[in-house]
Symmetry: C3
Subunit: 267 residues, 3 copies
């Protein structure tokens, strides 16, 4: 389920990750991708989406601050990447919050074949048409069993790897379901920490054909980096953590992921 060698391969091969993202997290996503050795490009003009979709090693579509122009760009770049055989990752930020987001995600899922769909439990529940207590872009509370059900359901329906991020990560390819019990509680206190994980998954699926293994490896490594970063802090405070975390991503090939990752196959 894991292939820790991918961490080193990303640094050697510098996959080009093209991201349509939002104004809140674009900077951290770019710096995080640079830190792990990937090559970020963030553009959103419809005029260049086809070329970039073909050129990139992976495309990440994040609906955080979407609008009609960006949706048009998302559709173009997703289809171009599909046609070129490049993996596309969906980050359905706050999809349950508004009708526009729900309809946009429905359309993206209908017209683009995604390799990976990554979000929090509230977002994936919305895609699965399952009731979930959710408010704004934050996840509601829930339990592990239902997360596994939702991951499995969405993975099967959309023939994609589904990664539900939270205190416990739940990842499914439609057959298997694994959980990852790693990660420091400071991580979700940083805006865009989920968006950056989607980009990091993009870098990993950009260099391998086993998207499930890549997603599990990226998610576990990312969670472990947050643990390493938190251990370096004098006090558990978010802005210091954010600096320490990006620094950890830059040095994560030196971590002992194989030993520290707490990954279980639950289905």
């Amino acid at each position: 389920m894991t292939n820790w060698q991918l961490i080193e391969d990303v640094r050697t091969r510098n996959p080009l990750v093209h991201t349509i993202t939002n104004i809140v997290v674009a900077n951290d996503s770019a710096n995080g991708l640079l830190a792990i050795g990937a090559s970020p490009i963030m553009a959103a003009a419809v005029e260049e989406m086809t070329e970039l979709g073909e050129m990139a090693d992976a495309v990440v579509i994040n609906i955080g601050t979407l609008n009609a122009d960006l949706v048009a760009a998302m559709l173009l770049v997703g289809k171009a990447a599909n046609a070129a055989g490049k993996p596309v990752i969906l980050d359905p930020v706050g999809v349950g919050a508004t009708t526009f987001r729900r309809e946009t995600v429905r359309r993206l899922l209908a017209e683009i074949q995604f390799a990976v769909i990554r979000g929090n439990i509230g977002e994936l529940a919305s895609i699965a048409d399952v009731q979930w207590q959710s408010r704004g872009v934050d996840a509601g509370f829930g339990d592990a069993e239902r997360a596994a059900d939702i991951a499995l359901k969405v993975a099967r329906k959309h023939r994609a790897v589904v990664a539900i991020s939270g205190a416990v990560d739940t990842i499914s390819d439609g057959e298997r379901v694994v959980t990852i019990q790693n990660g420091d509680p400071l991580l979700p206190q940083i805006t865009g920490s989920g968006c950056l994980l989607s980009c990091v998954i993009g870098a990993f699926v950009g260099i391998t054909e086993d998207y499930f293994e890549a997603t599990v490896t990226a998610s576990a490594s990312y969670a472990l980096a947050s643990e390493y970063a938190a251990r370096k802090l004098d006090e558990p405070l978010p802005a210091s953590f954010r600096v320490a975390f990006i620094d950890e991503l830059a040095s994560w090939q030196t971590h002992d992921q194989a030993k520290l990752a707490n990954i279980k196959e639950v289905r």
Copy 2:
């Protein structure tokens, strides 16, 4: 004039603050809101403004990098929040700098009932139609008396709490005027420190009906956090300060605001 309990209440109740903001400060505004325990959402598509205006506990409209599409979104979300009885905060960034900004702010003020208007002295002078030496988005120089006059005038005219930020903050509800003499000089050296204050005020007015008290409490707490942050630095340098400041916001319920706030009723 103050209610320090609000600090704890924000952390307990996690008000949802919807912000239409600019590409420069969006990340700091989101991280700052998370740090104080609020729940940020930043979206700007006209298609979802009505829903978000109804759903949010407070709406912050920041014109930093405005354009015609964003103005349409601002009007929609402001009216929806008004209709739903949710407070709306205006941050008229650089309003005096261009005709487009002046006209946009005039229109926003005419069509939306704001709970709070927060800006620097140059911005509020422009709204008050008072002459003020101003350049770009930076405040010009002035004196306390004129700030009080301007705050009072704008507060009365627009039936809103007005907060003028600067070395001394001046806040009026159209009857009273208070000044707050707190805050470290490093604070304005961070881009978006004013924009984040507007969001923080949004979080406070989102959980109480006394907007004046909420604005004074938020402003004083914010200024005090900058003093705490500055004291932790080896040298007074801006990027280190920025990290320390967001960290302080995450721990400000442990500060002794009641003792350290220098608040005076001047009218």
Copy 3:
């Protein structure tokens, strides 16, 4: 070729630098400009570009996340600045990556007279119509001789100072070519470090008429600040470096640039 007094003059005169930039780097560019004592304004509405082009001391056009609306704004602000005799700086981010970028830059160069064009070697090679191995927004590998040729060619054709940033900076005014061998390897690991340099050059050319001297001085000072920042780190990690670097910009008038700059006239 250098005038170190400009560093102090920027801090005293606070040039207003208007930047049309991208969602990835806007925050760092604003904080970096504030750190050196300049006054940033970032706006992009076509309605206000003429006023801002006239008002600013310098205008920086960065095509990082361009779209049709932004291109219209770029043309307006560039022409307004030209008419008002204000210097305009072009940062052709990733110009070689897509047809839309190439055509946009061609049009900007045809309709606006730039004072300075700053980019990496891949971007300048694209403008010079010279073959260069390039991928996405990252520079390819090359040699000093070809960089000098490209700088000279573009500088002559567009009657602008050309600054090619990299491990070695190459700067030409169409007659002379100088190289700067300063700068820490961490600098390009920060997204937008080149974009911020374009803004810093904007601040310098905003207060002097000798654009070549201003560009060489700004570039060398900037590279030296990265060396100072790197020396303060316990470990060479990017997020810590980013904080230290902006801090160094805030204190760079205390550096000994004259002694440490490694500048050579090579043509």
